[in-house]
Point group: C2
Chain length 191, copies 2
């Protein structure tokens, strides 16, 4: 054995990639830029990743797994409906807010030439617990009896916009704002 690969380098590459995608999208993502932002030589990128495509796809999988862990790790489906709902809403929000970079990366990934059809299908299954919860809410006659897709986007849509806004503008998300936003979401869904 000899010199080891440096895990911190992978983290640096990921961070650099996310930063660039946030700022200028996939179309601004160039290998030399990534290397520079990550503080290493261009060639080094190819020690850790076979190609740009490999880098992008690997990062996607990494983020997806992280996202799902964050979303459901605290989740207890046996709690009362509103508690479940609130828990997931906040978790989803935190996930997006804390990691706008990652959210933007995922958004761009899904509209890029890198997207593989297979990946698209897997994506939906991961939200299954949320769909289950919505079905339950309908059965318990707590929320409106609408298509779950429609209900779901009523939740995710404002969150996505809010997190985007929080970066580009001087829009501070305080505990209070969050509470209000949650109430709007709840009022929209409840019967």
């Amino acid at each position: 054995m000899a010199r080891d690969k440096d895990d911190k380098k992978i983290e640096a590459i990921y961070a650099a990639t996310l930063q660039i995608v946030l700022q200028s999208g996939f179309s601004g993502l160039k290998m030399p830029n990534i290397a520079k932002a990550a503080g290493m030589a261009t060639g080094t990128l190819y020690i850790y990743f076979k190609s740009k495509e490999d880098l992008v796809n690997t990062l996607y999988l990494h983020l997806k797994s992280r996202k799902m862990k964050g979303l459901f790790s605290q989740y207890d489906p046996s709690a009362p409906f509103r508690a479940c709902f609130k828990q997931l809403w906040y978790a989803y929000f935190q996930l997006n807010l804390v990691n706008l970079q990652e959210a933007v990366f995922l958004e761009q990934y899904f509209r890029s030439p890198y997207l593989q059809e297979e990946v698209k299908k897997q994506e939906k299954q991961l939200f299954q617990p949320i769909y289950d919860l919505l079905e339950r809410g309908k059965k318990e006659q707590i929320i409106k009896n609408l298509d779950s897709e429609l209900l779901l986007l009523q939740l995710t849509g404002p969150i996505h916009e809010m997190t985007k806004l929080s970066y580009s503008e001087a829009f501070e998300i305080t505990e209070q704002v969050l509470e209000k936003a949650f109430l709007m979401a709840w009022d929209g869904l409840k019967l």
Copy 2:
């Protein structure tokens, strides 16, 4: 004088560009692809546009102007609050649904290297009538007294998600679905 430039060519170039951006984002936008999708030679693009950057920026301005015309052309701010609100909600929805391609283009444009800072500022002014309406609703004690930004994204967020969904999935947006979606939005905002 001699041969005239063909206005239909510009339309074809725009259409091709939008189609490609919808399908694979700005990072999939290549001049030879645009030309092929528009049914012309690559060089022809350079008769109508100085460069790729010029094409993208010109198309952006074109779409923005069209968008604003569509949004406010029917709008009568002297109507009762709920009518105004409903009118704008539907107009915004139609705009996005009918032209998902355009919505996606604009979204991608704002996270691309083509974006000029100046453009960013202008953008906000164009929504002024909507901000005005929200202020009015707060004064008349019809809607929640929250930051207008927060209220606005509660409206636009779900619409954006819905239009995206309507393309990628078998999610049909009937008159009924639309009504329900509007009611959710209204319930979320109203006091």
